[in-house]
């Protein structure tokens, strides 16, 4: 018998076996379908927290004392971080579309003059409302800051409601600020993280616990064949969940899909692949199913806390943001929010997709290196 390094037949053997076992495990199968729906309903109402240092760009056509003092006030407040104060409108719009700015504050021509004349000039505030929890706090704070800036300069009529300025708010991408719209990409990501890592995490430890690994290892199947055979079915199960979540989201919350479905599926594929590979890595390290489960939860917690799902990413301290960067969910959330709510296409989300691809590649290397070729 000639030996081939890569056998489709052997990979199929493992794949078919995994699918049969999963299908026969009715409880797990029911959970794959049931958990997403349940979570979607439970999390439909999001947790509100105050974000900090939201990147803001100012398009200032006028630069008088009130404008300057307003910008200074914004800069010193906790809510805003003025990223750029001398941009034109197209640049500003590009920044917010890419997610590099959360607010655009536009100060019109003759703002100072109109203010002195009591003509109630307009300040336009455009907010990225894909994450309403993050932006609504900022919008409230802005109103107060404007009042103070005007009062300090003694200009305008200084009325309490708006201080002689008309604040025009544009919530971009999610005009009604509906949290459910934002929560769907988040849930999509967290549910996939949880279930796909757990399922693959158990895939190899189950064999170890039941002793079937001895038989499997005595066959000619190679580590990469076993890994592929065990990973591919769970990518399939992951997509089953994606379908359940997207359909339920559309039916229950009328969540729109603004961007191309193909981009969403591509991003999701890379994300699920990264997760199942991570789960597989866990199962090469864990000695039993209990340990694999603990490792999954150990990974899951920082994922929901640091990825921007639970708390707005921009509200976190620097070290937490740095940790968040190595978590697949962080990048997935950014990409999927952009696609679903902003209508971004594949090209626009590339900055969020390549880190995912890098993470996937790294985990795959670790998984193969960790695979125990022998029983000791």
């Amino acid at each position: 018998m000639r030996y081939r390094r890569f056998s489709g037949s052997r990979i199929t053997a493992v794949m078919a076996k995994e699918v049969i076992q999963m299908r026969r495990d009715h409880l797990t199968f029911a959970m794959i379908i049931g958990v997403p729906i349940l979570q979607l309903i439970l999390f439909g109402y999001a947790i509100n927290t105050d974000p900090r240092q939201l990147p803001t760009v100012v398009v200032a056509a006028d630069a008088g004392p009130v404008t300057r003092s307003l910008m200074a006030a914004m800069d010193t407040s906790d809510y805003f971080a003025i990223a750029d104060r001398a941009v034109d409108e197209p640049t500003a719009e590009r920044l917010i579309a890419r997610g590099e700015a959360a607010f655009i504050v536009t100060i019109p021509d003759h703002f100072e003059r109109d203010l002195v004349r009591g003509e109630r000039p307009q300040i336009l505030v455009q907010a990225d409302a894909t994450d309403p929890a993050a932006t609504s706090g900022g919008l409230n704070a802005l109103t107060t800051l404007i009042e103070r800036a005007i009062a300090r300069n003694g200009t305008g009529s200084g009325t309490p409601d708006g201080g002689g300025v008309e604040l025009v708010l544009h919530r971009l991408y999610n005009p009604e600020g509906i949290t459910a719209h934002n929560i769907v990409p988040g849930l999509l990501g967290t549910i996939l993280t949880m279930t796909t890592i757990l399922m693959t995490g158990l895939a190899l430890t189950r064999e170890v616990e039941r002793g079937t690994i001895e038989n499997l290892m005595a066959t000619p199947a190679r580590p990469h064949e076993i890994m592929l055979g065990k990973i591919v079915p769970y990518i399939g199960f992951g997509f089953l969940q994606v379908a359940v979540i997207l359909i339920a989201a559309a039916l229950l919350f009328a969540v729109p899909l603004e961007g191309p479905l193909l981009a969403l599926l591509t991003v999701t594929l890379i994300f699920i692949a990264a997760n199942v590979t991570l789960g597989y890595t866990f199962s090469t390290i864990a000695r039993n199913q209990m340990q694999a489960m603990q490792m999954t939860f150990f990974f899951f917690l920082p994922s929901i806390l640091l990825s921007g799902f639970m708390f707005p990413y921009r509200g976190m301290p620097g070290w937490a943001q740095a940790l968040g960067e190595v978590i697949p969910l962080t990048h997935f959330l950014r990409a999927v929010r952009a696609i679903m709510l902003k209508g971004s296409g594949m090209v626009e989300v590339i900055p969020h997709v390549w880190p995912l691809a890098v993470i996937l590649a790294l985990i795959s290397v670790v998984a193969l290196a960790r695979y125990r070729r022998t029983l000791d």
Binding site: Q21, D25, A218, P220, D376
Partner: protein
């Protein structure tokens, strides 16, 4: 049939688990077409040795080849041509009988797979129950399924780790008939067992104790090399006689088999004297018997590895 080519050839094979030496520098040669019995008490290192031979455990010392391939570096090539039946059932209990065989068929790239699976089911006599979950089979049937799965790809070497534990006598007989048929076609077999009758059906046996081989050869060779003598006592109050005998000089074993009391000792003269003194006046009679393999094994187990490796031909 047996020809000269060594299928398993290991030298000084050693395995340690966290500092404890479990297999201690063993040498073993198994030639093509041979059926070699691998015996030894629980925990003596049989399973560990078999696992090293097929590449499932990395040896801590020694070298070896299996089917001409190096056991440390070429285990993937060894696995293609070895059928390994594990001591513990290690097929999938949540797969049906047919699905398990299908799985194995795919792993060994058997074509056409359905024919191989059908043939295996037919030989097993499980065609009618092929859609039953493997986990719902009785213990003996699980063993038979595992054997069928391990020979389905027509291996050149069969490693069987206590294949007949819990299997009824008729099935065991059939099982051994099949092993001999396969060996007749050139298959080589290394089989571990605790059953004496099975040891007697092997061409040769190897006895391991505390990780060291303490006896090897054909059954008569091993019995002769033990230097044991046996006297059989019939009649009288055998339980009392046996109890008294055990305190006597020169008596190693006194065990009742039905109506016979087997008394075993190394020195025939001392043995005879002790027996004569014990049965005097009890109405029992004594006659010289044949030492059986079991007596030898009990002796080897009691010795705990102290006996020299002196049985039979050098291997």
């Amino acid at each position: 049939m047996v020809n000269g080519e060594p299928i398993i050839d290991i030298r000084g094979l050693t395995k340690r688990f966290s500092g404890r030496t479990v297999v201690d520098a063993i040498d073993m040669t198994v030639r093509q077409g041979e059926i070699v019995g691998f015996l030894g008490p629980n925990g003596s290192g049989k399973t560990t040795t078999i696992r090293m031979i097929c590449g499932l455990l990395r040896p801590d010392g020694g070298t070896g080849t299996c089917l001409g391939y190096d056991i440390a570096r070429e285990s993937h090539l060894i696995k293609l041509n070895v059928g390994y039946m594990t001591q513990r059932f290690s097929l999938y209990e949540d797969l049906t009988i047919r699905e398990n065989l299908d799985f194995v068929g795919r792993l060994y790239e058997l074509e056409p797979r359905a024919d191989f699976v059908d043939a295996a089911l037919d030989r097993l006599g499980l065609t009618g129950r092929q859609h039953q979950l493997a986990g719902t089979l009785s213990g003996g049937w699980k063993q038979r399924l595992a054997l069928a799965a391990s020979v389905m790809h027509r291996p050149k070497l069969l490693l069987l780790d206590e294949p007949t534990a819990g299997v009824d006598p008729k099935a065991r007989r059939e099982f051994w008939d099949e092993i001999h048929d396969l060996a007749g076609e050139g298959l080589t077999v290394l089989v571990s067992t605790h059953y004496m009758d099975e040891a007697e059906r092997c061409h040769r046996i190897v006895y391991i104790s505390y990780g060291t081989i303490v006896a090897r050869g054909t059954v008569p060779e091993v019995v002769a090399a033990s230097g044991l003598h046996t006297i059989i006592i019939r009649g009288g109050d055998q339980a009392t006689i046996a109890r008294r005998l055990r305190d006597r000089a020169g008596i190693e074993q006194a065990a009742i088999f039905g109506n016979d009391l087997h008394v075993v000792g190394a020195d025939p003269v001392v043995l005879e004297t002790s027996v004569a003194a014990t049965i005097a006046g009890t109405g029992a009679t004594a006659e010289t018997g044949e030492t059986i393999l079991e007596d030898v094994f009990i002796r080897l187990m009691n010795d705990g590895g102290a006996a020299p490796d002196n049985g039979g031909q050098p291997t």
